[in-house]
């Protein structure tokens, strides 16, 4: 299973994401400062120059310079990492709804693909927590403090993507929101939109157009603030307590690699794992190496494309040219949109109020969900050994969801898990 190419000591090992050019960044930061001063002095004459500058190098939806300077200070960086946690979590319930609504024995390949994505999203939550813990001064943590607030981190579906990420939607469609849907074409469209890489040709706005771009801003923030802090302290902003890190020994099961974060380089590797798994490796991959072997994990976006087309990618497919247009040409598999529980979209406990027994079942599910999040929160808040206890809870979550899906509603649809906060 282990692919030698990805091993750390291999000199030919491909970086998951392009390293940031250190010099470049300072220059950009300065240039903002000078531009601003310039504008104040001589607003009219400089304005066209700036427009020209932004138009030239800009390939992302939020301008590259805005992305580089997005993070203001350490507090903002920590807030953004908390938002990243919320972002990762917000994707898990829709994927789980897609997975749970597949009836036993059907859509085997699709289920396996979605399942592998969910597992990796959970890994991403842990990786983001590791980065956040690595840059949090232990002296600022009060006893009993948790890394995040479970009640606040649970989104209310349908929800926009947290973090001001606004993916492009076809013309005329309403702004993108994440819905809880049964396994369907609509759901797969939604999943692909969540994971879609940035379009280099997209016009510039004030919003991030992809999860990758949001993480790009976090990376630049980490690098810049760390360089600044290093002038006064040896470890820069990486002064967290290493015992709060989740490491491979705490993480059971498959789905990528857990990275202990104690330096900037570790943080970059962790983000590389997150972005690489989500939308694929930025830019092109060296052609000399066979990178599309059977044992390579494809990025989420491409896994969802495989389900959309009912076909696996083959070794010769090139998928990393932007914008992404590639169609898989490998082994076909059966996708059945009808062997699915007809779950009501975006179910809520409120919908079940007329049926107290059903409401109780929905609450039972949510209790298990909140317990799972509490467990993860405890684990990333200084008790990493508790992470493993989440496994039992995850299994229970599935069984509780399936019970709800077996309960018919009056209109031919069935009940479903609501993923809402309840007190436990």
């Amino acid at each position: 299973m282990e692919n030698k190419l990805f091993q750390k000591n291999n000199p030919n090992r491909q970086k998951l994401i392009k390293p940031i050019a250190d010099l470049d960044i300072n220059e950009e930061v300065y240039s903002v400062a000078t531009d601003n001063a310039f504008i104040a002095d001589n607003e009219l004459s400089v304005a066209p120059a700036i427009t020209a500058k932004s138009a030239k190098g800009m390939s992302l939806k939020m301008s590259k310079r805005d992305v580089k300077n997005y993070i203001k200070d350490l507090k903002h960086l920590q807030d953004c990492l908390r938002t990243a946690l919320k972002l990762e979590l917000s994707t898990i319930p829709p994927y789980l709804c897609g997975l749970y609504t597949i009836k036993e024995g059907s859509n085997v390949e699709a289920a396996a693909l979605i399942r592998s994505v969910v597992v990796e999203e959970m890994l991403h939550m842990v990786l983001v927590s590791n980065i956040l813990n690595a840059i949090t001064d232990p002296k600022t943590i009060k006893k009993g403090d948790k890394l995040f607030n479970v009640k606040e981190i649970i989104p209310n579906y349908p929800t926009p993507l947290p973090g001001g990420i606004v993916p492009e939607v076809p013309k005329g469609s309403p702004p993108f929101e994440v819905h809880l849907l049964k396994f369907s074409r609509e759901a797969l469209d939604e999943f692909s939109t969540i994971e879609r890489p940035s379009d280099p040709k997209a016009p510039i706005t004030k919003n991030f157009d992809s999860i990758g771009q949001f993480y790009e801003a976090i990376r630049y923030g980490l690098l810049r603030l760390n360089e600044e802090a290093k002038k006064t302290t040896k470890n820069g902003i990486f002064i967290g307590d290493p015992s709060r890190q989740i490491t491979a020994e705490h993480y059971y099961g498959s789905g990528g690699k857990i990275t202990k974060v104690v330096t900037y380089e570790d943080a970059e590797e962790a983000i590389g794992e997150i972005v690489g798994q989500g939308e694929g490796i930025d830019g092109t991959i060296a052609t000399e190496q066979v990178l599309f072997g059977e044992d390579i994990e494809y990025a989420h976006y491409f896994k969802f494309q495989e389900i959309c087309f009912g076909r696996m990618y083959s070794a010769n497919d090139t998928n990393f040219q932007m914008p992404v247009k590639s169609i898989p040409t490998g082994k076909p598999f059966t996708v059945s949109w009808s062997s699915v529980y007809n779950m009501k979209a975006n179910p809520k406990m409120k919908d079940y109020e007329k049926n107290p027994e059903l409401l109780e079942k929905a609450k039972d599910f949510n209790k298990v969900y909140v317990q799972l999040l509490n467990g993860i929160n405890d684990a990333v808040s200084g008790e990493p050994e508790l992470l493993i206890k989440g496994i039992t809870v995850m299994y229970e979550l599935k069984y509780k969801a399936l019970e709800l899906l077996n309960i018919p509603l009056e209109n031919g649809e069935c009940a479903g898990p609501t993923f809402e906060y309840v007190e436990v």
Partner: protein, 140 residues
């Protein structure tokens, strides 16, 4: 009588016989299968009388203690060819007599829920679960 009142009565009486709520029974996804199972394996006359009497019992406002009435009138092995007993065994074990109805019925047997455990070979509780109190116990 409305066309599918038998299935409705079957759900009602199953809840009374098993002690699980109607929603919990639906949540097993076995309602239809089990209804068909009793249809297939029980004498039609017995089924008709059984549901007729269940209907009367459930609609009899003067009957204060339905469970006592069920026990005295339905539970004898001779009553309706033991149908009430068979229904209980069906829901709890997924078996009709000594035969398992389907792999799903084995998994969905209420005996596993009642004992806060899981059917061996299915619905795994996950690594390390043996060291913990079952979640269903913790949450109840």
């Amino acid at each position: 009588m409305e066309p599918n009142s038998h299935t409705k009565l079957f759900l009602e009486v199953s809840a009374l016989l098993t002690g699980f709520s109607k929603t919990e029974l639906k949540a097993t996804g076995m309602l239809e299968t089990y209804y068909n199972t009793i249809q297939k394996n029980t004498d039609k006359q017995d089924i008709d009388y059984f549901f007729l009497d269940v209907h009367v019992l459930l609609n009899d406002k003067s009957k204060k203690n339905i469970e006592a009435a069920l026990a005295s009138q339905f539970m004898a092995a001779s009553a309706y060819n033991g149908l009430a007993k068979n229904i209980i065994i069906l829901w709890y074990t997924g078996n009709w007599g000594n035969d398992v109805v389907s792999s799903a019925s084995y998994i969905q047997g209420l005996m596993w829920n009642a004992a806060h455990t899981h059917p061996p070979g299915a619905k795994q509780p996950g690594y390390g679960s043996w060291a913990e109190r079952p979640l269903t116990v913790k949450n109840s």
